[in-house]
Amino acid sequence: MNDDTETPRRHGGNGIGPERLLHHYRVMLLIRAFEETAIRAQKNGQVPGPIHPSIGQEAVASGICGNLRRDDVLLSTHRGHGHTIAKGADPAVMLRELLGREGGNSNGKGGSMHIADFSVGMLGANGVVGANIVIAAGAANAIRLKGDERIVVCIFGDGAVNRGPFLEGLNWARIYDLPVLFVCEDNSYSSTTVTANMTGGPGPGARAGALGLPVTELDGNDVESLDRATRDIAATIRSGGGPHFMHVHTYRLAGHTAADPATYRDRAEVEARWRREPIARCAARLIEEGVNETTLAAIRRETETAMAEMYEKALAAPPPPQRRAFEDVQDIGDPRQEAF
């Protein structure tokens, strides 16, 4: 997420330049640190509900959301921490949400699976796989009706392409020519299942193509190419080019949830994938671009310190007052006015 409405300054040529790479490095480290903190917090009994860490998928979040304006709209999934941070949400507030505390994004009413920050255009993770796709389509209808120049980005997993709303939402965006970027963040698994075994035909891109959407397939662990591609695609969408589909290949390095040891897959497979994870790859590119290791180490330290502080603060936040349970249900027929 960049500040306000300007698309960020960029380096010329084919690369995106060290400055922008450094930005991604920072964002990705922040996401990684957030996930690790959340996992640890859950192990310590501080996170009462389920969390779905995005370790290994940070490039998708940063590469894509780094090209959005603050008032662009993002819809995410149960595995949405990274996207939310990359869209500009404050991780300190998010941690409070995961801990179920007052001052969390939803004052502890949503938790990880419903993380949202409307102030930065992040309109919610979703506990129902694929439901965000149709919601995203409609958000784009609203942009069209209002005549805005905003765009919608909808990120979902490889498992979601087997749900009906995938077809309905993509078709919808196509026939009304709506400003939406659909991103299938393919980490090979849906829960304990190898998604490919459950997916007929050539896969997500072919399906989107058959629905009339232009398709871009990308290495989801290469933040640079994600950044470049999204910049162009987002610009096309913004200028009325209609919906687009990105299929990005990444890998879920952790379990499905923080509690999942993921014993259903080979250690060797996971190790091989660790060697292709996006943050180290980004660091290597930075070194190539002439940034020195000391700088990178400093960023890592800063990030860790910052996250540790946020966590301490989150721990100190009070639980939501009990009245919150009855707030924000509805105006008409508000349960607070009812003796039940």
Binding site: S106, A116, G124, A131, A139, N141, K146, G169, I332, Q337
Partner: protein, 328 residues
């Protein structure tokens, strides 16, 4: 005051809201051609295809898109064609629309209206005749309206569009041609429309609570009962969530007898909620148990004589009311 049919009243409500507020729009199948019952006739011509939007046969996306568009500050009116087809969009309505405001801690609201033509009508059989208002009343976050008259269809639909909550607006297909007087207002009817029952007929002997098309059966029954000297008070609830407990309890406390009549299946119907509440709150005023009339727990048939077996009829209301007068 003008005279309008129930169908025209719905159209007028939408038209008036769309004229007043550019954020109001409608979406559903075949709306451009006027909708399957003609409820949208002329509106596409008036407001254009982006605001009276024809959709594919994609109920999940129709509802889901409305959720997204509502969270973005527009006021979508969803047409579900038959209330039965809303069952193809229940995740979007119940898991998304109803819960978003709460899950997100008040960061957003979902001001959408779902129009669901309900009930038995012209031998439409099991998949085109259901009355599932009890389901929606059970779901936190949803508002539920069930107008019986043109005036209420007008006022409640306008108020529903203005509400910041998701509203399930149940129009009864059998009422489309029913005519009545109403006043088209400049100021939209507001929150005061909800949870306010209408005493459709006054009476001191027993209270009959009803809504939607059953109102007319109850009124017929009341006529017949009056001829026998039994004065039934008929209460048209108009909205089921919130529902007007005060009026129901006051009436029942006065008459000592309460009968609830609805078209939906009796088992698990909203009549159970009302009966449970009434007996709890005015127990000592009751001269006998609260009674309910609804459909037996069977799907709806195609053949008219079988359809009639599950339709609560005027005779049944009269008989039950009589029993209640003579019991204990």
């Amino acid at each position: 005051m003008e005279t309008m049919s129930y169908l025209e009243a719905g159209r007028a409500a939408l038209s008036d809201e769309m004229s007043a507020d550019p954020d109001v729009w409608a979406l559903g199948e075949d709306l451009g051609r006027g909708g399957v019952f003609g409820q949208y006739r002329g509106l596409a011509e008036e407001f254009g295809p982006e605001r009276i939007m024809d959709t594919p046969i994609s109920e999940a996306c129709i509802m889901g898109a409305a959720v997204g568009a509502a969270m973005m500050g527009t006021r979508p009116v969803v047409e579900m064609r038959f209330s039965d087809f809303a069952l193809c969009a229940i995740d979007e309505l119940v898991n998304q629309a109803a819960k978003a405001r709460y899950m997100f801690g008040g960061q957003t609201r979902v001001p959408l209206v779902v129009r669901e033509p309900m009930g038995m009508w012209r031998s439409s059989a099991a998949q085109h005749s259901q009355s599932l208002e009890a389901w929606y009343a059970h779901i936190p976050g949803l508002v539920v309206t069930a107008p019986a008259t043109p005036e209420d269809n007008y006022r409640l639909l306008r108020a529903a569009i203005r509400a910041d909550d998701p509203v399930v607006h149940l129009e009864h297909k059998d009422l489309w041609p029913v005519e009545g007087a109403l006043e088209r207002t400049v100021t939209p009817p507001g929150a005061e429309e909800f949870g306010r029952a209408r005493i459709a007929r006054q009476g001191g002997d027993l209270s009959i609570i009803t809504w939607s098309a059953m109102l007319y059966r109850c009124l017929e029954a009341a006529e017949a009962l009056a001829a026998e000297g039994i004065q039934a008070e008929i209460i048209d609830l108009r909205t089921l969530w919130p529902w007007d407990k005060a009026t129901v309890l006051e009436s029942t406390a006065r008459t000592g007898r309460c009968l609830i009549v609805h078209e939906a299946v009796a088992v698990g119907g909203f009549g159970g909620e009302i009966a449970a509440t009434v007996q709890e709150k005015v127990f000592s005023s009751l001269k006998g148990p609260v009674r309910r009339l609804g459909a037996p727990r069977v799907p709806i048939s195609y053949a008219p004589p079988l359809e009639d077996m599950v339709r609560v009829g005027t005779e049944q209301i009269i008989t039950t009311a009589r029993e209640m007068m003579h019991a204990k």
